[in-house]
Subunit: 350 residues, 3 copies
């Protein structure tokens, strides 16, 4: 349990606990009552109660309490260990839709075809995935950073990169070659997809200074008018930079997903900062939840609370009427994502 | 009208409007009443009322409501489409002073003299401009970024750069050569001018990560004691970095001009952050307004409100007496600019 | 006196005073009463009263008012002009412990041995210092920045670097060679020391954009599990980045020391931001005070107030019980430092 409370991959130092973090405090305060414990139950009681109830019941309670209408779920990370989108829908009683990971498609394709056949096979696989998926995701941030050449690579460059990559590989393929990351980006552009970009804060594999979304400025500039749309995810501590990009580029959207969970009681400030430049019609909600059901519940609860605090503060100090506050809340909390991912359209799984 | 509410140059996505931004909300809340509409009038009514009243009346109302005592106006951008400083003074009943754009002078001079004559002609043109102008402005941020060699170029380098630039140019000259940008900076240093530096947030032409004012640190270090002063404009999201520079370098000033308008209800936090390290005697106000009269009115109103909120908060939590709050407000809102630009001095147009 | 209110090294511009800063306002508000003056006494009265009382009495009053239990003092900067840790203990009635500066040790060793003997002599000197010191400090930020090769240099590289450095040196040796800075880092790693890293905001010698702690990510990655611990000091304006590092790396700690003093009435926001990602068991307090006793008093007072404001806000908006608020305050204000520096252990001087 405790290891799901952190993006670190090491235990807390002796004499300390990950429960002593913003996220840990939020779990004790907000999730404990959902499991019939008093607010701020001590960690030992929380862990014990969780085990008593069993994973299925804990998931059911926390996910339903989240009040999420449609889960848009990216399935590229340890997908054999977590619920499928369909299972999530069953547990939660909510709608569902899938997002596929560009780098995972490349790894799967490279494992089964010759380098010379990679470009065509990748294109076919992506077409196939987009028959049901509502978007794609890139984790370039975890695979070397976002400061890549914005130029589209040629097929020859792609074939050479696949050959070099697969020739030396041992064990499961892991894509880090920038040529192939860029190839995936441009194939998504060609398909006018929604491209989720993991930005900023992540685990110890990330070189955070290579994850500033401003490093993608030239790519955004070159893809104006193509029909592609980019959704910058999480973005902390670069959420103001992400807001700037969403302000100047009509096809860039952003959220502060993961940051809301991990900044806990401080998340209202982070949410407010993310709405400085981001147009209200391009700000999104996400939970970045993975694994622990707590993250879904808290992601939704803290975002609602943070946005609510920001909006009522702006009502008080800047005169925003209640109905305008509610309208912004509806846009950010639901309508923008529904429009972006076309979730009303039954052929896309919403 | 709507395109003046954004630094983007593309329309909002289908089904959305630039009025759904911090700036759009501020226009509806604060400008609508100046045009006899109720607060938060719907965008359609606002646009219609604006057309009914006519540009002259709208300008007169909004500019006078701004309550600005002296307009310091930079005239290098689309100057044939906007009011001259003299016309602004007439419309507003306020004082006026002019700031000239270093890169525009270079473009004008390069268009009329041979490369070999450029250095002398540029110097003469700058001397001439500074007979009336109270300062110069550089838009290096829009022309490749601020990470330039801090060394002064030689005249030979300048002549070669002008020759290379003008030889291949088609249409109106547009300066991007870093040698010539640096030449302008150093000529301004020699004249002990006030050099306004556009920093940070701007339109889609800007590579924002090349606009961090820290990239100019070495130039600031080398120009200590020369008499030149630098005013860093806007600075968002690098306003804390700008405050640091104003703290350690006695000849660096800063403001959060444009950011105040575009962050709207969130601007009090931005204003407060800008006053963390900036000495109170070197913080400035600016509107960065261009074109739409709304930007002048809101720039002034939101800055006053944001500064007022910060000061009264600091009164409440840190015990600042009212008279000290007012003294800081006078410094930042007016006295610092008057001292920096020597606006009391009648020979400089104040 | 006035020059201790700034990290700049030049006088304030004519007609202005460093008292018109966040720090100056805090001195007038909080230190004046300790010297029997009314809050917000005018600067002239403050300076006169300070001279009347004499340095010894001023130090005694302000340091005791600080309420610091144990002073952990780094002695590498102008140590002949300030009180020794023992003298501080006498003046304050508090415990004391020493931190030694890696670069100063290198300068002292290089001045007395041949290059070929430098590695062994440095190691012996560091072992000797760590017999009593509770940690080491690196000021690489002031000596070229933090973006250094994370690789450990060989002894041959070290000897060559010392030879090159000392051959051309005139006057006192000043270490800037990155090979020797890295050598000191790795020797500290070998000794499982606590390494204080000066990060971010400093005087005009610093290139702040080379002081982002993210530039040390690879070093942190390579030293996991070695037993070394890093304490990132000050960190402004990179305190969110520092919090990220403390979140993902179990051996990274951080504080916002100096920033609290210099941001004054705004410091509650800075303190709150520093606790977004930093686990509560790895956040530290420091004053970064040097020279003026005011900095010790204000560093402690403003940090307590800022942390108190943040905690009670989180109590109000996020439901943190009072006892949990107090527990976090104890961890951050004292327990974490005592555990990190092993201050209870009598052999380390606590």
């Amino acid at each position: 349990m405790e290891d799901l409370l952190t993006e670190s991959d090491a235990p807390a130092p002796a004499g300390t606990t990950f429960f002593d973090t913003q996220l840990g405090f939020a779990v004790r305060r907000e999730c404990a009552p959902v499991l019939d414990l008093p607010p701020f139950a001590v960690p030992e009681d929380y862990v014990a109660r969780r085990a008593d109830l069993g994973a299925a019941e804990v998931n059911r309670r926390l996910l339903r309490a989240a009040g999420i209408g449609t889960y848009v779920i990216e399935t590229g990370h340890r997908s054999d260990e977590i619920l499928t989108p369909e299972q999530m829908a069953e547990v939660t009683g909510a709608g569902h839709a899938e997002v596929v990971r560009l780098e995972v498609i490349a790894e799967q394709v490279a494992a089964r075809v010759e380098p010379a056949d990679f470009p065509a096979a990748y294109r076919a696989a992506l077409d196939d995935a987009l028959r049901t998926a509502v978007g794609v995701k890139t984790i370039a941030a975890y695979r070397g950073g976002l400061d890549l050449d914005p130029e589209r690579p040629t097929d020859d460059e792609v074939v050479a990169a696949v050959a070099a990559w697969t020739r030396c590989a041992e064990g499961p393929l892991r894509l880090t070659d920038p040529v192939l990351v860029r190839f995936g980006w441009w194939e998504a552009v060609d398909r006018q997809a929604v491209v989720q970009v993991h930005v900023g804060y992540g685990d110890p594999d990330v070189d955070l200074h290579r994850c500033n979304p401003l490093l993608m400025t030239e790519l955004f500039r070159r893809t104006r008018g193509t029909g592609v749309r980019f959704a910058l995810l999480h973005c902390y501590p670069y959420h103001r930079e992400a807001g700037y990009l969403a302000h100047v580029f009509e096809h860039v959207y952003c959220d502060v997903g993961l940051a809301v969970n991990f900044t806990g009681a401080q998340s209202p400030q982070v949410v407010a900062e993310s709405l400085e430049l981001t147009p209200f019609h391009k700000a999104l909600f996400s939970s970045d939840a993975f694994g622990a059901a707590e993250l879904y519940h808290l992601g939704a609860l803290l975002f609602r609370r943070g946005l609510g605090q920001a909006l009522s503060e702006w009502g008080r100090t800047a005169g925003w009427p209640t109905e305008e506050q509610l309208r912004v809340a509806r846009m950010v909390g639901s309508e923008n994502a529904r429009r972006l991912y076309r979730l009303e359209n039954p052929t896309t799984g919403g």
